[in-house]
């Protein structure tokens, strides 16, 4: 960094990319076209994902928090990501770990809550503390921080994605996009530089989650072909297996929370040492003495192998979903600290029958990719043509008669996606439809993840089978689902953005926002007004940008209308008042609609022209050679 940086208040804010990881988190940005991690004052990129709650109510995060984990295991939350979007009765709460959990009252049964110093803390709040720390780090370095791209495991379901977005909001970030971690890694590798096409696998063994993604690159477009994973499999499991084995060797059957923490730390240290060395010394103090032992690589690998091998079937299925053989891949990218382990590397090599790529630091690669995407979204990147077409990892559907899950959007559907389906009543005079939205691959809804339940009421009595219920599923580019249900004969309609049963309710997020760090002094109205101002400024900026580029698409009258609406909004901003701002922001949006339409249509025309019908004329000649698509082109 230059010593003298002159602060330019008009400089555009810098977009950032954040890897919110199980064991550690990072923040990165693009500078001079290259992604770079931001360092803390100790010049470290990694922020340990640990949050410590002090007796005086203060919160400490990162390395300092981690150092307190052994003496205050219940007050120090690590690997919080494992609990994101999970219910209070989730099996995750019963695995080896030091935490106490708040009893699940009826109102709170939806989200797991840690019990810390008598106070209930949700994983969303703890994650927000980490994000807030990263945001502060970015603000120190960049002064003006723009929107953030936050990464999530590709295999995160809707509840887990919602929880991550909520955490970002809670930390005061403008979340530009949730990006799948393997896709971020592919972007970071810059696979689009120096080649036009190729097919790659990304093997991402993180602290708490495993993802595999197969994607192809075609003239700047990254298209995810398939994705798979296990949201309960990660490097943490290797620590747990070794910790359990150490405790057993020490003869401890009922370890205290502190001892569990120490055993886990000792196991992790040994794991790291075994990446380079063949043996690691472990010292573990416990109530009846001290365990001093040597862990050989063979012992560790015997414990680790069954866990690592669980990634095999997941990878094979992803390849099959993409209709590819391992030999057809042009490269395999490794992501996640656990992929440093020689055992994992060997295993990946045998799975994909090739030496994996390891040019980039597997701990940093996801954050770097997130920064690249943030830069792309902010329109500042020279990689103008780059585009990511991602997919949903798990099928989305509705429970129908007999408890069967009817899949509206199958897994690996490219997003954004929308699909409508019509249902009908099964009883005479049925006046309500209960909709149960589920996610997963199993036949029965009960075996899938329950995302939301809602009822569409107000259907006039009709004989069974007469009502026409149109249900539309929409998944946006973040992979988040919204569901609309409409009764076609009466027009009774309801739209819900799915707030998963296991997430936080919208009111909770509002409440937490009010209670959170920076908003403590504000009331709801001030905050709304502030958000309104930000929104108005954004619309002004966006419209001005569109006009500068494509103003010529409007005739004089239309142009005058947009200019007028912009002026009106600017005036409203000089003395911000909620209703006027809302009004004029909407008015500007309306005035800009013709411009939006023409810009879209022109983009469409250009797309169609790009590969004009000449090719299709050629196709006719080709027909004798290609009477049909390759027989291998089957649907899922």
């Amino acid at each position: 960094m230059a010593l003298l940086q002159i602060f330019d208040p008009k400089a555009p804010p810098t977009p950032i990319g954040i890897d919110l990881g199980t064991t550690h988190s990072l923040v990165a940005r693009v500078v001079d076209g290259r992604p770079e991690c931001l360092l803390d004052c100790d010049l470290q990129a990694l922020l340990p994902s640990a949050v410590h709650y002090r007796a005086d109510g203060d919160v400490v995060v990162g390395r300092e928090a981690l150092a307190l984990a052994a003496e205050a295991p219940k007050e120090t939350l690590v690997s919080v990501k494992r609990f994101m979007g999970r219910g209070a009765d989730d099996p995750e709460t019963r695995r080896l770990g030091p935490y106490d959990f708040a009893p699940a009252g009826e109102a709170e049964a939806n989200s797991v809550r840690f019990l810390v110093r008598g106070r209930a803390v949700t994983p969303v709040e703890a994650s927000a503390e980490l994000l807030y720390a990263l945001r502060s780090r970015a603000e120190d370095a960049l002064r003006r921080v723009g929107g953030a791209v936050i990464t999530v495991p590709a295999y995160f379901d809707d509840a887990q994605r919602q929880a991550t977005r909520d955490a970002g909001r809670l930390a005061g970030l403008e979340v530009l996009r949730l990006l799948n971690e393997p896709t971020a890694a592919a972007l970071a590798y810059g696979l689009d530089k120096g080649r036009e096409t190729g097919t790659f696998a990304v093997y991402d063994l993180g602290g708490g989650t495993f993802d595999v993604t197969i994607l192809s690159l075609d003239h700047g477009v990254f298209q995810v072909r398939s994705t798979g994973g296990d949201a309960r499999l990660g490097g943490d499991d290797l620590d747990r297996a070794l910790a359990a084995s150490l405790l057993e060797e020490a003869g401890v059957t009922e370890p205290s929370a502190g001892l569990v923490r120490e055993a886990l730390d000792a196991a992790r240290a040994a794991k790291h040492a075994l990446t380079e060395d063949d043996r690691a010394e472990v010292v573990l103090r416990h109530p009846s003495g001290v365990l001093k032992t040597t862990v050989t690589r063979a012992r560790f690998e015997a414990l680790a192998r069954p866990i690592v091998e669980r990634t095999g079937p997941v990878c094979r299925r992803a390849l099959k979903d993409a209709r590819l053989k391992p030999e057809e891949l042009d490269g395999v990218i490794l992501v996640g600290g656990s992929t440093r382990s020689p055992l994992v590397r060997e295993y990946v090599k045998s799975l994909f029958r090739q030496e994996p790529l390891t040019d980039l630091d597997p701990d940093q690669v996801v954050a770097l990719g997130a920064a690249v995407q943030a830069d792309l979204l902010a329109g500042q990147s020279p990689r103008q043509d780059a585009l990511i077409l991602d997919v949903i990892p798990l099928s989305l559907g509705l429970e129908t008669m007999g408890g069967v899950a009817e899949k509206l959007l199958p897994r690996n559907t490219t997003i954004p996606a929308a699909r409508a389906q019509t249902f009908t009543t099964y009883a005479d005079n049925q006046t309500g439809f209960e909709l149960h939205v589920v996610q997963g691959e199993r036949e029965l809804a009960a075996d899938c993840r329950s995302l939301a339940r809602f009822t569409l009421r107000g259907i006039p009595p009709m004989p069974a089978g007469m009502a026409r219920l149109e249900v539309t599923f929409r998944v946006d580019a973040d992979g988040l689902l919204s569901v609309e249900a409409r009764e076609a004969t009466t027009g009774a309609s309801q739209e819900v953005t799915v707030r998963p049963s296991y997430g936080l309710a919208a009111e909770d997020v509002e409440r937490l926002l009010l209670e959170s760090f920076e908003h403590a002094e504000e009331d709801l109205r001030t905050r709304q007004l502030r958000e309104r101002v930000v929104e108005a400024e954004q619309v002004l900026r966006a419209t001005a940008g569109a006009l500068a580029k494509d103003g010529g698409l409007l005739d004089e009258d239309e142009r005058a209308e947009v200019d007028g609406a912009m002026q009106a909004l600017r005036e409203a901003l000089s003395q911000p008042e909620d209703r006027a701002l809302k009004h004029r922001t909407e008015a500007l949006d309306r005035a800009a609609l013709p411009l939006a339409e023409r810009r879209m249509n022109r983009a469409l025309e250009r797309a169609m022209e790009g590969h004009a019908l000449a090719e299709f004329e050629e196709l006719v000649k080709d027909r004798a050679l290609h009477p049909h698509l390759a027989a291998g082109a089957k649907e899922d």
Binding site: L176, R177, D218, H219, V221, Q223, R317, K320, L376, L377, A378, G379, D385, L387, L389, T413, T414, I415, P416, A417, A418, R419, A420, R474, A477, V539, R541, A542, T543, G545, A546, L588, D589, R590, A592, L593, L595, A596, R599, M600, A603, L604, R606, A607, M608, G610, H611, F616, L619, D622, R623, H626, P627, H628, L629, A630, A631, A633, K634, E635
Partner: protein
């Protein structure tokens, strides 16, 4: 969701190359994906998002031969429904194939041989469909009937091949 051929700007015919389909999908995604309009006013983003979803759905619909056949039949006003029953002959044929598949369980070479046989059957139906839906003129009513029969057969062959997939996965 409208006519997927129109969405992708492609002639409504059966014989399409996968590369051409994907090329169009890519070009249109570049024009319509919300990320490509990230800095634009909200009205513009609201405008493109559903169109981008349509483009994705059109690719899905046209990517596989049965999907393409269904789309073409729907386009000509005689879409397939669940009420389209297979002929006795087709049912017997599929039944026999299923039994053979059951017996082949665990023997990869036998499954592969059966797969090859069904793929050849499917190709014959695809040839019929290529002949009927040439994209230049509307098919004659008699041809539509033939196409429909072919599509029903394709549906059954496709299901069979999916089952063979599951067996191979073991």
């Amino acid at each position: 969701m409208g006519n997927p051929f129109e969405t992708l700007g492609l002639p409504p015919r059966f014989a399409l190359r996968r590369e051409d389909l994907e090329q169009r999908h890519r070009d249109l995604s570049r024009a319509l994906h919300p990320d490509r309009h990230a800095g634009a006013p909200a009205s513009e983003r609201a405008l493109v998002a559903p169109r981008a979803a349509d483009v994705n759905d059109a690719l899905r619909a046209l990517r596989d031969p049965f999907g393409r056949a269904s789309a073409l039949l729907a386009l000509h006003g005689c879409g397939l429904t669940d009420a389209d029953r297979p002929t006795q002959e087709l049912l017997l044929e599929v039944l026999e194939l299923r039994e053979a598949l059951d017996l082949a369980r665990g023997v990869e070479a036998k499954i592969a041989a059966l797969r090859g046989r069904v793929e050849a059957l499917a190709r014959a139906e695809e040839d019929t469909l290529s002949g009927v839906f040439r994209g230049d003129q509307a098919p004659a009513p008699g041809d539509l009937k033939r196409a429909r029969d072919a599509a029903v057969k394709l549906r059954y062959y496709k299901r069979f091949l999916d089952e063979a997939d599951v067996l191979e996965e073991g």
